[in-house]
Amino acid sequence: MRSGGRGRASDRLRIVVRLFLVAAFALGLATLAPGIARAEGEAVAGTLQTSRSGPIEGIEVTVETADGDEVDSVESDEDGKWSVDVPGPGEYVVSINADDLPEGVTLSGEDNRTVTVAEGRRQFVNLGLEDGSRGAGGGGVRAIQLLVDGLRFGLLIAMCAVGLSLIFGTTGLTNFAHGELVTIGAVVAWYINVEGGVPLIPAAILSMIIGAGVGALNELGIWRPLRRRGTGLVAALVVSIGLSLTLRYLIQIFYGGRSNPYAQYQSQRAVDYGLFNLTNRALFSIIISVIVLVLVALMLQRTKIGKAMRAVSDNRDLAASSGIDVNRVIMVVWMMGGSLAALGGVLLGLSDQVQWDMGFRLLLLMFAGVTLGGLGTAYGALVGSLVVGVFVQLSTLVIPDDMKYVGGLLLLIVILVIRPQGILGSRARIG
């Protein structure tokens, strides 16, 4: 059982919290401001592509009003993109001719979509295309394809979740705002990459540095003062939810509700590796994640600060009494968690585009992974996240694609029934 009262309330807390809020707001404004003055007229737009065929050029897209009057019809360009300006907000029907599609590509749904365009918005329309890479083909091959996708996804979750788990281990905080660290990483990299014109790799590194900074701000501005004040764990948990809401909707205001791709590595064709296909960006995502995670493991195992992290997360008081500067360790954990989450966000944005609530949706799976592995253990988060990623992808063999996250949830509840302490957790931690 943990008790509150770790320290006395500090008078400086109010000032620090206020300063942090102002700083966070200003930082947000400064980095995200370019996105505000966009989109003047209303338009509908979209991209025609599948993972195997790449972008599809020269398909005629017709946009009609809800009454059936044709607004315009355009052909998709070499990136598969198309865009039609519409006269004003309202309902429009977007359709394409299924016979134009190249061989092997079919429509997964109907050949038209009805969309509602809000005032001043560019409404993106996703005409679902099927290239046979899902569903068709031999069952065994598809399972391997999904396994590889699942590994990529699991490694990505693991990268984001290591920080979450270490923060829990060292401070006892269940940080519901961790998803926003992921989103911030992806969005910052998007602005640097797309608006700033910097290539994605330096942009990702910059965004990792900023992510570390955001993590440090989190710790300095909110959590350290709260710990000093002796705020209980439940109060801290609800504060983290408030933080998550605030950040998430601030991101929505600045970045918008659209999903946008990065400027590079988008129009890649999948390379055939025999049993499975993989785009180069997915391959590099796997390689980068493995390298980073191995480095994290080496750091935890070999370096002084890594050992200190494990010591603090195992027994905080014992670590403190053996001369470890607990606050410094926690600071490093936050910075590491922030920058890993930022990198995870960039990789997620690379595969699924950048969206304002991408981190929050990933949070559920991070929690599933961390719980499966054992809350508070770094290696547990790795193992658990991998299992969750693979499970979520493989579950689409049985259940429809848009329900795969539900599979992750079911897994979470099953884990809680069978082995609540997780694979690597210890019984004593769960109360």
Partner: protein, 332 residues
């Protein structure tokens, strides 16, 4: 001046209308779970969704009477509470939090998925299921009535009246329960679970009862909301609403019978006032278009709620009428 009055009357209507009832009932449920028993249910909106869709699906898809739909909604909430509580209530508090937040998101994804379209209507949801209920109104439902400078349709008034009666009955029930031995046991669970266990009480069963009871209140909230809007759409039940209800509860005062009701009315009044005020300022050009657009205003309310939640918890966790000693903040 006229605009200020308009904004005030819109805000007043929001603070009295079915949305305030919706959040009051959600918050009353959370109050039983979090305020009195110390359970962290972060998926209250899932119970509301089951309540709303219980009616919607029963009436439109299964051709059952409205009142059977209400029972279906309640049953759905009870089953969900049992499913979530069985594995997690023996564990530390944050496990229930994680399981419920995941359940709320998962259920919404399930309800809006393409394969569920034949039951829940997918992303478009269901509509036209409240005719039987509206027909019960003792007055003309198509006319508009004016009360305190706000204009209401007859149907809105009817939903509002029934809703507030449900809220009042719920408050009476909570009041009686918390005076009874049952209430004393759950409050002691909040304070010290081990001590209660040592006295020979089955803590697990009491926690489960609190979870189920709070979930049923949430389901009633969802029903009022679905009947009030006349439609049930999965995306209306975003989990951010759960946290809006938490903010309302903490604003009003947790572990107080009237805390959630006062908090919800006040919070909705404030949020709606800020909302209308910002929109007016934007349309008048006081706030330049480059800084905020009308479409951003909907997001602003959640930013305000999030900030409010953080500041309240740090500086005044007992809210308006609460008692600091009664607020469960130092859980295991």
């Amino acid at each position: 001046m006229g605009e200020v009055l308009d904004a005030l009357s819109t805000a007043l209507k929001a603070g009295l209308g079915f949305q305030a009832i919706f959040f009051s009932l959600l918050a009353i449920g959370i109050n039983v779970q979090f305020g009195y028993t110390g359970l962290l249910n972060f998926g209250q909106i899932a119970f509301a969704m089951l309540g709303g869709f219980g009616i919607a699906v029963s009436v439109t898809q299964w051709d059952l009477p409205f009142w059977v739909g209400v029972l279906v909604g309640i049953a759905g909430a009870v089953v969900l509470a049992l499913l979530l509580g069985l594995p997690t209530l023996r564990l530390r508090a944050d496990y229930l939090a994680i399981a419920t937040i995941a359940a709320a998101e998962g259920l919404r994804l399930l309800f809006r998925s393409v394969s569920a379209t034949s039951v829940t209507g997918g992303t478009r949801g269901l509509a036209a299921f409240n005719r039987d209920f509206v027909a019960l109104a003792p007055w003309e439902t198509s006319k508009r009535y004016s009360i305190l400078g706000t204009s209401w349709s007859g149907a809105e008034l009817w939903v509002g009246l029934v809703g507030w009666v449900i809220v009042a009955l719920s408050c009476v029930l909570v009041f009686l329960l918390m005076r009874a031995p049952w209430g004393r046991v759950v409050k002691s669970i909040r304070e010290d679970e081990d001590a209660v266990r040592a006295l020979g009480k089955n803590v697990y069963v009491y926690k489960m009862q609190a979870l189920v009871l709070g979930g049923v209140f949430g389901a009633f909230g969802g029903m009022v909301y679905a009947v009030g809007t006349g439609s049930a759409i999965p995306d209306q039940y975003q989990n951010a609403n759960t946290f809006l209800a938490y903010a309302a509860l903490i604003l009003g005062g947790a572990a107080r019978v009237l805390g959630p009701v006062i908090g919800s009315m006040l919070l909705l009044f404030l949020v709606q006032f800020a909302d209308t005020g910002l929109r007016t300022l934007i349309s008048k050009g006081v706030i330049p278009e480059g800084l905020l657009t009308a479409t951003d205003v909907a997001a602003i309310r959640f930013v305000l709620v999030g900030l409010g939640l953080m500041l309240l918890l740090v500086f005044r966790p007992q809210g308006i009428i609460g008692d600091r000693r009664e607020v469960m903040l130092d859980a295991r």
